[in-house]
């Protein structure tokens, strides 16, 4: 402060002295007040970030959306943004059914869901090596054929026809199939068959699941879960010549 400015400030007036309580009494009173008021300390500092807002997602989907070790909650980090956005809408609007997801998403508007999807899609995290899948080699081989070659006689396209040659997903809205728990993949195919999971019409996965035979779900989910995820993960962009074997509402909406 400059000396000149100082002279403009009002002089402190001498105050009448109040009788002073001993210091220990004042301290005791203050402590008692704090206790009586439940110790209202100043609020803890919180980041004003999207990550801080989304703690509700990561207790189940793992830190940064890496997938939890329970074998059911899927990894969400690094999936196509449009795919994640569609799933958030599907839960909120009654096309997918899982109570905790529905309850969390019910109040959220589209714009925020789009941001949430973008946040997790943009995370690039290394995948851990796949867990050992303990099934007969014949079942794995059957799963491999279904995933990579399909079966023309049953009009079953290969997973790779839409989910990318490396099965790591196709832009804009088709998810990768690797790095997911086996139970999760099997449960999703089962849910489609039971009408418990739906996607935007025309629902191509519902049609494909209808064409699957007994044992196909176990085979393909086991093989998918046993594959390592290529690093770095690349989500394929469809070429101009790409023709989907079936019409998919979700993929068409994303375009």
């Amino acid at each position: 402060m400059t000396p000149g400015l100082h002279s403009f400030l009002p002089r402190p007036r001498p105050r009448p002295r109040l009788p002073r309580a001993p210091a220990w009494r004042v301290l005791l009173l203050a402590a008692a007040l704090v206790v009586a008021h439940g110790g209202h300390a100043a609020p803890a500092p919180v980041d004003d970030s999207l990550e801080a807002r989304l703690a509700a997602c990561t207790t189940c989907h793992g830190r940064e959306g890496r997938a939890a070790p329970d074998g059911y909650h899927p990894r969400i980090a690094g999936k196509p943004a449009q795919y994640l956005f569609h799933q958030l809408l599907n839960f909120r609007d009654g096309r997918r059914h899982y109570g905790p997801m529905v309850a969390l998403l019910e109040p959220l508007p589209d714009a925020y869901l789009r941001e949430i999807a973008g946040h997790f899609a943009a995370l690039e995290l290394p995948y851990p090596p796949p867990p050992r899948v303990d099934v007969p080699p014949a079942l794995l081989e059957r799963g491999r054929r279904l995933a990579l070659e399909g079966e023309a006689t049953r009009q079953l396209p290969a997973c790779a026809a839409c989910h990318g040659a490396a099965l790591t997903g196709m832009l804009p809205a088709t998810p990768g199939l690797l790095g997911l728990p086996r139970d999760y993949v099997a449960a999703q195919l089962g849910a489609w068959r039971a009408g418990q999971r739906r996607a935007h019409a025309p629902d191509c996965m519902a049609e494909i699941v209808r064409r699957l035979g007994p044992g196909d779900v176990a085979a393909v989910s086991a093989w998918l879960a046993a594959q390592p995820v290529p690093q770095p993960v690349r989500i394929e962009a469809p070429t101009a010549a790409f023709r989907a074997p079936l019409r998919c509402g979700a993929a068409e909406q994303g375009r």
Partner: protein
């Protein structure tokens, strides 16, 4: 012969008695003569009428029940699980076959005011006609005019699945004899226009008592806002008359308005079904109407809290709370702070609620606290906070015993002195998340 005659006579007596009772019930609940009050003068321009109707639909939160998840707006289909069975909300769009397409404004008024369908049948009181009966004919006509502008959706009504006799006309008539008095809200000339407006909104279209009135064994809501468990099992609607529950008598008016506008105020937050009400209804109302509601709510008669039972402080009780303290440190303190002080952004917005000294924590019964811990939830998106913070669900992370322990800890920490919570209580109250 004698015996047979006596038998016949006894039977006849019974038949006549029952017949007379049934007749009396239906006579007491008859349609009043000239029930269609004169329609509002047509001086109001159609566009203005429709706009007012749209606003009233917000006040009444019609979509809260009449719009199914992901369904066409107001096309019905949402299921309400009540203690008497499942009730399905009807289709209010102007579809002629399945909606209100063939209804007139008189029919609609009769539904809102008298709780009767177009064919005169008594409607189930899950539809809160016990409150909408207080709406004026002009407001009924405005609401109807707005409903006529919705795109018609063909969604057939699902018949209610009520148990036993509950859905019969006789049972409904008897219920109405006891619990339903039709009548438009009459302003109290001794009160301000603002108070009367607030009372009209709260007791009429807003139908706050449907939850906060508590319900008796026959599902009838009281009119003293004494609070009670929601019949749908979604938690406890606290009393609006008690300072230790949700009474707002001593709040600054602005804080009451903030709670209704944003679902968050310095001394409380809307969670669960109330958050849904804020989102679907009160956040859309005008400042003047929120202020009127706040003025009215502050004028409700005080009700004293019943004396608390003394709290057990024996060894098992202390161990229970100590376990809760450990759960809190592991799972809660990172966001809510080590002394329950909540979390604020660098610019000072309290985005993570404080827990110390909050009546939402010490509320008896602690059903909502248990539900918050089990199911978590996001705050309400608003112009002020378009990207709300979210609390994770812990139902699959913590056992009932752990939820009980941490709830007990919170209710007794930092100067609080509320009753403990046990694992069986958690099992009873946590319920399921939506599906």
């Amino acid at each position: 012969m004698m015996r047979r005659r006596r038998f016949v006579r006894a039977g006849a007596t019974w038949l006549i008695t029952i017949g007379a009772l049934v007749g009396a019930v239906f006579w007491l609940d008859r349609l009043p003569a000239g029930d269609a009050a004169p329609a509002a003068p047509a001086a109001v321009a159609e566009a203005e009428l429709v706009a007012r109707g749209a606003y009233l639909a917000r006040v009444a939160n019609c979509a809260g029940c009449h719009t199914a998840r992901g369904g066409a707006p107001l096309a019905g289909g949402r299921a309400l699980a009540t203690p008497f069975g499942v009730v399905f909300a009807g289709n209010l769009t102007p579809d002629p076959a399945t909606g209100l397409g063939s209804w007139s404004a008189d029919d609609f008024w009769r539904a809102l005011h008298l709780g009767r369908g177009r064919d005169g049948r008594r409607l189930v009181p899950a539809f809160p006609y016990t409150e909408t009966t207080r709406m004026t004919r002009a407001d009924s006509d405005a609401l109807f005019a707005w409903l006529r502008t919705l795109p018609p959706a063909s969604v057939p009504a699902r018949p209610h699945e009520l148990r036993g006799v509950y859905g019969t006309q006789l049972a409904l008539a008897a219920w109405r004899v006891f619990f339903f008095r039709p009548g438009v809200w009459q302003d109290d000339p001794g009160r301000s226009a603002e108070w009367n407006r607030g009372a009209y909104l709260v007791n009429g279209a807003g139908h706050c008592a449907a939850c906060h009135g508590g319900r008796n064994l026959l599902g009838a809501a009281g009119d003293d806002f004494a609070g009670g468990f929601l019949p749908t099992g979604e938690g406890y609607a606290p009393s609006l008359a008690r300072a230790d529950q949700a009474g707002v008598h001593d709040w600054p008016l602005e804080e009451v308005m903030a709670l209704l506008r944003y679902g968050a105020a310095p001394r409380g937050r809307a969670t669960g079904p109330m958050a849904e009400v804020v989102r679907g209804s009160t956040s859309h109302l005008s400042d003047a109407d929120l202020r009127a509601m706040a003025v009215y709510l502050q004028s409700l008669p005080h009700e004293a809290a019943p004396p608390r039972r003394p709290i057990e402080r024996d060894e098992p009780a202390r161990e229970h709370a100590a376990r809760g303290a450990r759960v809190y440190a592991d799972h809660c303190a990172a966001c809510h702070g080590s002394t329950g002080e909540g979390g604020a952004t660098p610019d000072g917005r309290l985005v993570i609620p404080a827990l110390a000294g909050q009546r939402a924590v010490t509320l008896d019964p602690p059903a909502n606290l248990v539900r918050s811990i089990a199911h978590g939830g996001f705050g309400i998106a608003s112009a002020r906070e378009p990207r709300p913070w979210g609390m994770p669900p812990f139902a699959h992370v913590l056992s009932d015993e752990e939820i009980a322990a941490v709830a007990t800890f919170l209710r007794q920490a930092w100067g609080a002195d509320a009753a403990p919570v046990s694992a069986p209580e958690v099992a009873r109250w946590r319920g399921r998340a939506l599906d």
